[in-house]
Symmetry: C2
Subunit: 407 residues, 2 copies
């Protein structure tokens, strides 16, 4: 695993989680970074989201640390919540000797409970001593940001820019309240490339629109969604223009990291036992195709049918018909495939042509729906618009996990 | 139970359902009725929806029968499906001696399978002999339209118009794929009042907008949603103008019948163990309040928290924040109440003021969340816009029912 130069990482248990699991992570850069971030569109944006927005407007070229806690979202906590976030950032800056406004803060967990900021302050010296530049530290940080995730999520990418090589590394947490709108639950990506803040933001938006913004676990957008990218320039390579081939290569590498993390979030969705790729095509434009794919991805009836391995394809058409997107139902074509993994799919089986069912062997259809990886391919006309979304099934365990989350 | 004059009803098993349960219902008027109906906005409108739309444009003053089958939705079945619907309507007209274009058809059940219309034809003579004007026939019809409903849903209302009395009676089926958009799953309402088709349609739309269009079980809008109203005039009272006090009284009575049926659908939602009333106020207008209430009503995280009796009120705010409606989060106020029924509620407990949590006793909050009937009251400002929606919880049984529905 290649990690970008000039960063160190750590993760410890500070006592926010009652069970003693790690719940506090830190990423630290040796030098100031340019930073870009995308945040939730939820009206109840959490205190750390409000804080980070302010920080990035004040100091987008001087970020040096990112502090992330799990177990408490510090959302819907009013002025006291914002003060708690500020206090935790200032504690990091004091203990690590950083200038003011240099620490991004992210929180994830239960909404509406006071953040026990004193526990964070108490744990910071221990976190300081645990920081490591290598894989151990990176994995500890990834583990400390988990909530109902069953395993840590990390991705790295080396990108050859022609006349230089840079490295990207990211961690993310997912599991529930996952239906990103402009960003995802929590993800932090680090690179040793150097880019000015505006280019970094452009690259991040392009990457997110094809990765984090195309997944759904349960259709609920979190109050804390944050996707942040820090670039410290330690690789000695500076990208200065969006038109440069190096910018395209960097964005492609960033998209690869974001997609790997986004797919890991779907695969580990709360209670998820199966994954589905939903490909919609033939519409007027990509936005319409995305709306149809989204309607299918969030439908509880589609998701429970996938869980049960029931080839109830009518629900897929019904969900598409509810998207509000105009199309000619009598042109609908539907194919289903499935396999042990996205790379090992059975041949696609066409179920619908001209908006009506084709005769097909029930055993063949059921065989595909029984696989852990499904591909749903819906064509709704002859237009150029197409989009892909990734989702997971809705299982008994999702209900169990979310019926008793706080308790 | 008062039933409108001049109608008879019946329900039999014709063999569409594999388990032999009743699956074919008929309502017959002695004389031609004016008729109005609201249909699904789903792009994959089922064959009977397409057929009924055509019938009502051709013959809105000459409807005499409504044939309803359960177990097969006859949706996404192409030209063959439409021909099957027409054949079933014509069979009714032949056997019962009715003129052409006088039989409304409704279907509910699995999507995308051919309707076994020959079984319907074979069963019609027996259905003809089973017709009854009284409660027995009415209940048999209500039972024959059930799918995953656990009990039949009926409502009646006598309306005093000042200088005359008319009666309304309705049956409905619900359970799953319930998120009406302009109409509900299937509901048939009969009255012995007389109204011209345009007034009947106006009354039906007004009633539906405050009843069926305000409930959600799972956020999925059916391909078959149909709410039909037949008026045969047997009570000898004619309403001729929307400005007449009798029209207001009629519409109020109709709204009462629609609300009773809509609430019965929510209470019997697939796997439902609890019901919730969601009242949103303080926004700019009713449409905005409805959008916020809807976002809360369809949130899987809110619905699983209700199921688990977990006072996780942060999810309610998070869902409201995702509605896309602008409001000042720092003005949010939230009250929760609960009780054994809508009529026996514990005093409301305020959880949030000024967008931040109030100190409250966890035991008091949990006591309310544990009740079978919940009232969620969210105020988001000082505007005049308010709306109420009704929903149910998302339980393990919902997943079980929908993971194995077809099989």
């Amino acid at each position: 695993m290649n990690l970008p130069s000039g960063f160190s990482f750590g993760g410890v248990a500070c006592g926010i989680k009652k069970n003693g699991d790690p719940d506090l992570a830190l990423a630290l850069s040796e030098t100031p970074c340019t930073a870009a971030a995308l945040f939730t569109q939820n009206r109840f944006a959490a205190a750390p989201v409000q804080y980070d927005r302010q920080l990035l407007s004040l100091n987008p070229g001087g970020v040096q640390a990112a502090l992330i806690n799990s177990g408490n979202a510090n959302a819907a906590t009013g002025a006291a919540g914002l003060a708690a976030t500020r206090r935790s950032a200032e504690a990091v800056e004091t203990i690590f000797g950083l200038p003011p406004w240099s620490t991004l803060v992210m929180s994830t967990g239960v909404i509406g409970q006071p953040l026990p900021v004193a526990r964070i302050e108490t744990a910071l010296p221990g976190l300081f001593h645990s920081l490591r530049a290598g894989v151990d530290g990176f994995q500890a940080a990834a583990r400390a940001i988990m909530t109902t995730d069953t395993h840590p999520k990390l991705a790295t990418q080396r990108v050859d820019l022609g006349d230089g090589v840079i490295t990207l590394a990211g961690i993310a947490k997912g599991a529930g309240m996952i239906h990103p709108n402009m960003a995802t639950m929590l993800a932090l990506i680090l690179t040793d490339a150097a880019l000015p803040p505006d280019l970094l933001h452009l690259a991040l938006r392009q990457a997110a629109d094809r990765s984090f913004n195309r997944i759904s676990v349960d259709g609920d957008t979190s109050t804390n969604d944050t996707l942040a990218l820090l670039a410290n320039g330690a690789a000695g390579y500076t990208i200065t223009a969006a038109a440069a081939p190096a910018f395209q290569a960097f964005t492609a590498g960033l998209t690869a990291v974001c997609t790997e993390l986004a797919l890991a979030i779907v695969a580990d969705g709360e209670g998820a036992t199966k994954r589905a790729t939903i490909r919609v095509s033939g519409l007027a434009d990509e936005a319409q195709a995305h709306r149809v794919a989204n309607a299918i991805a969030i439908s509880p009836l589609v998701k429970t049918a996938i869980y049960g391995g029931d080839a109830n394809w009518g629900r897929i058409l019904a969900a598409a018909g509810n998207s509000g997107v105009p199309f000619a139902a009598e042109q609908a074509q539907l194919w289903i495939s499935g396999g042990a993994s996205a790379a090992e799919m059975l041949p696609a089986l066409q179920l619908v042509a001209g908006g009506a069912p084709l005769p097909f062997a029930e055993t063949e259809s059921t065989r595909r729906f029984a696989q852990p990886e499904l591909l749903i391919d819906l064509r709704l006309g002859d237009g150029p618009g197409q989009a892909t979304m990734w989702t997971c099934d809705l299982s008994h365990d999702y209900v169990t996990i979310n019926g008793m989350y706080r308790t």
